[in-house]
């Protein structure tokens, strides 16, 4: 891009090496409006990736300067402090300190601040100013501050800190032009702010600083900030992918720590206090409070929603609404999709010559994909609900209410957020565990999260319920009741195993929790819609690629090799095929659960993802069925028999199979996420073993007891 000469020339002098636009990092406390500002600033020019080794979202966007030059903006995870207590915060710290090889160390930092809560937010700013980089402080949520009666003087703040301060309202796109202008400046001022490091700590800081410069190749300024940080953080949370400190620095740190422990002084408390004292002096200058703070709107809503009686009533109503919409509202779009896909299958059937290709298209492709796509509405509804709870701020209240029940199993309220999210899908659920500070509690939550019935189980449940109960004579309430029973079993299972794990493998002191309850917000429908579309797309892409592939493969394996006798029954053909032979090997293991080899094939293919079970059943029993129409899978299942003529899908077997899917770990993506999140194969393998093992044992007991009782 061609720049006007008067801009580019002085810039060239300042920037050493090839001219490149500065890289900005965006930091701030959780809920300060950072994401909103990042989106407003970069529009859709974002790339979402991961920090290798940890499943923490890495968002890099591009903003344009006043002169149209692109500038990179990295959105870092929200944090209260650079002294990391969770992997999320450790990533923030390590990127800012240049400890990560996968991310360029940002040249400049944008600190987003919630103006209605300036003191607390300035704590992070205070730490960041120590880094000695050009900083822009964005006073976001000025409207909220004004309504709350805090008059903030940005000019005064700018004078005291020495860095650029920009008032802003990200949701209303106010202040963005000014921010862009500041970002375009070649000469951002450096922080002038000074605070006195408490004298007794100074030798330790000097010691660590020297070591960081010498052994960890830091620049002196960053080394000083890092030294200060190490004295509160003690390098206690490390994440994969970050360069560790040199052993020399770690030694020095440990020796200072030991010395202080011997003296019985608490220097980290002193450091924090002295920062807060500096901040309070600053705020006294900058903020004028026009009136005494009364209870805010959120406080008044909270008086009801976290109330020990009304709060639970409301929570119950929310959950009831969630399940009601999954089971009833979703019926209409579901039937619509079903009808159209069936019509398509019929059309292909009618317009093609009889042969293997036609079979492949109707039984392999269309049946396989249809079995899955019909569940899209339900999945969308689940994601809509979870998005709604999150964006209104209610999720934190649900966690607050659930804290007490959760404490009975040794976890705290924050663990409830990932668990609730796992009703939609365990993957975002597991990623949401990152806010849990205690490593053991986080691991326990990760281990039990996939037991919460996710949306991929819905197809299996619904198919089994349809097979189990004739649609005409049984009331809908019975079906819904059966479905709720599955959700209840899964949820109880998750709590039960959490209890067990906390008492055995992960014994630790009772968990401590501090959680901020953000102000209530009107739901951001565009944001929720975007997430739903993303999820739907992912789901359809999966159905259209991998699941389609599995269906085709399965069709192939169940069609070949061809039975030597061309007039063999379809039953004999599938038994003769590769899939049939493989299934037979598995049969002895699952026969005690009432499953035959055909179900076994489904169990194996659906290890990729649970919903594949449905498409596999469609393919296996579709190939088998004698009439050439794309008959409903349900009817095919109902007419399936054991070799001795006994009905295969008895009500007991259907029920057992549902319970099997409640417990069994049948999801490759979850395995992959757990592997990345825990950074070892140990926990995903353990998870597969304990979940699938439990599934087998529970199903064995159910089926054998059921048989003994004559079902």
């Amino acid at each position: 891009m061609k720049l006007p000469p008067h801009i580019s020339l002085p810039e060239k002098k300042r920037v050493a090496g090839p001219e490149r636009s500065p890289v900005y990092a965006m930091v701030g406390n959780p809920n300060c409006g950072k994401t909103t500002l990042f989106n407003a600033l970069t529009g859709l020019r974002q790339k979402v990736g991961n920090y290798p080794g940890v499943t923490i979202e890495k968002k890099i966007g591009e903003a344009y300067s006043q002169h149209g030059r692109p500038m990179k903006v990295i959105d870092l995870p929200g944090a209260y402090s650079l002294a990391a207590r969770s992997p999320d915060e450790a990533v923030l710290r390590d990127v800012l300190l240049g400890r990560r090889a996968d991310t360029p160390q940002p040249d400049r930092i944008i600190c987003v601040v919630d103006s209605s809560n300036l003191e607390r937010n300035l704590y992070l700013v205070h730490q960041i100013l120590d880094l000695g980089r050009p900083v822009i402080v964005v006073l976001n949520m000025m409207d909220v501050a004004t309504t709350a009666g805090h008059l903030i003087d940005p000019k005064k703040l700018e004078e005291s800190l020495g860095v650029t301060v920009i008032p802003c309202e990200a949701v209303h796109h106010k202040g963005l032009v000014e921010l862009r202008l500041a970002m375009s400046r070649a000469d951002l001022p450096l922080a002038r702010h000074r605070w006195d490091v408490p004298a007794p700590i100074a030798p330790a800081v000097a010691d660590l600083q020297a070591s960081l410069v010498q052994y960890d190749t830091r620049s002196p300024l960053v080394a000083r900030a890092e030294a200060l940080l190490l004295l509160t953080d003690f390098d206690s949370v490390r994440v994969a992918g970050s360069t560790p400190l040199s052993s020399r620095t770690i030694e020095i740190l440990a020796s200072w720590r030991k010395r202080w422990e011997g003296e019985g002084t608490d220097w980290s408390a002193t450091l924090i206090r002295s920062r807060y004292e500096a901040i309070n002096r600053l705020c006294a200058d900058v903020i004028r409070r026009t009136r005494e703070q009364g209870p805010s709107v959120s406080d008044r809503i909270d008086a009801v929603l976290v109330h020990s009686i009304f709060g639970w009533l409301f929570f119950g109503a929310v959950m009831a609404a969630l399940f009601f919409s999954i089971f009833t509202l979703a019926e209409y779009p579901k039937n619509w999709i079903d009808d159209h896909m069936t019509a398509l299958g019929g059309w292909v059937q009618g317009s093609m010559a009889v042969g293997d290709l036609r079979d492949l298209l109707t039984h392999g492709v269309i049946d396989g994909v249809k079995g899955i796509v019909v569940f899209l509405p339900q999945i969308l509804i689940l994601f809509f609900f979870v998005g709604l709870l999150e964006s209104t701020g209610y999720m934190a209240r649900a966690a607050f209410l659930m804290d007490r029940p959760m404490s009975k199993v040794g976890l705290h309220g924050k663990s409830f957020i990932p668990l609730l999210g796992s009703y939609a899908c365990a993957i975002p659920g597991i990623m949401a565990t990152r806010t849990i500070e205690n490593a053991k509690d986080r691991l326990v939550t990760i281990l039990v999260a996939p037991l919460m019935s996710c949306s991929a189980r819905l197809p299996v449940y619904l198919l089994m319920i349809a097979t189990l109960l004739p649609s005409t004579t049984v009331a809908t309430t019975t079906k819904v009741g059966l479905m709720l029973l599955m959700y209840a079993i899964g949820t109880l299972g998750a709590f039960g195993f959490a209890w067990l794990f906390k008492r055995t493998l992960f014994k630790s002191a009772p968990p401590l929790m501090i959680m901020e309850l953000p102000p209530y917000q009107r739901p951001r429908l565009p944001e929720i819609t975007r997430q739903m579309i993303e999820r739907a797309w992912l789901f359809l892409k999966n159905a259209g690629t991998i699941i389609l592939g599995i269906s085709i493969l399965l069709w192939f394996f169940s069609t070949y090799p061809k039975h030597p006798d061309p007039s063999a029954t379809p039953d004999a053909q599938i038994a003769y095929s590769l899939a049939g032979r493989a299934g037979k090997i598995l049969e002895p293991v699952i026969k005690p659960l009432g499953f035959d080899w055909r179900i076994g094939v489904g169990l194996v293919t659906s290890f990729y993802a649970r919903e594949v079970f449905v498409s596999s059943m469609a393919v296996i029993f579709g190939v088998e069925s004698k009439d050439d129409n794309t008959a409903a899978i349900r009817d095919a299942l109902r007419s399936a028999k054991w070799p001795d003529g006994a009905v295969l899908f008895t009500p007991l077997v259907c029920f057992t199979l549902m319970v099997y899917y409640v417990f069994a770990m049948q999801c490759m993506s979850t395995v992959a996420v757990v592997k990345r999140e825990t950074n070892s194969w140990r926990w995903p393998l353990f998870q597969i073993a304990y979940m699938t093992g439990t599934a087998w044992v529970v199903c064995f007991v159910i089926y054998q007891t059921g048989r003994a009782l004559g079902f």
């Binding site: 209260y80 206090r273 807060y276 607050f400 968990p511 401590l512």
Partner: protein
């Protein structure tokens, strides 16, 4: 500021809803205590209890913070004499 001769100290979880108190001591797990302080929940801060007996909901420095029972046990507060605010 005149104070009564001594103020009763109590853990935060015992503070009555609606009462305001000053934090005087935080004990327990080192890293957790540090996080409390960093979030403005440090010694000398004023805390107003909004509700809760097992899980406490409080107001500190203009934010709503929830502490679970064990965390609230480790925070000692002293009640402010009426009208001291």
């Amino acid at each position: 500021m005149s104070r009564p001769p001594f103020n009763a100290r109590m853990p935060l979880c015992q503070l009555a809803a609606g009462a305001t108190a000053r934090i005087c001591e935080i004990t327990g797990d080192e890293s957790f205590v540090q996080r409390l302080r960093e979030m403005g929940f440090g010694e000398a801060a004023l805390v107003t209890k909004i509700s809760g007996s097992k899980t406490s909901l409080c107001h500190v420095n203009g934010t709503r913070l929830a502490l679970n029972h064990d965390a609230a046990m480790s925070v000692l507060v002293e009640l402010l004499p009426l009208g001291a605010r």
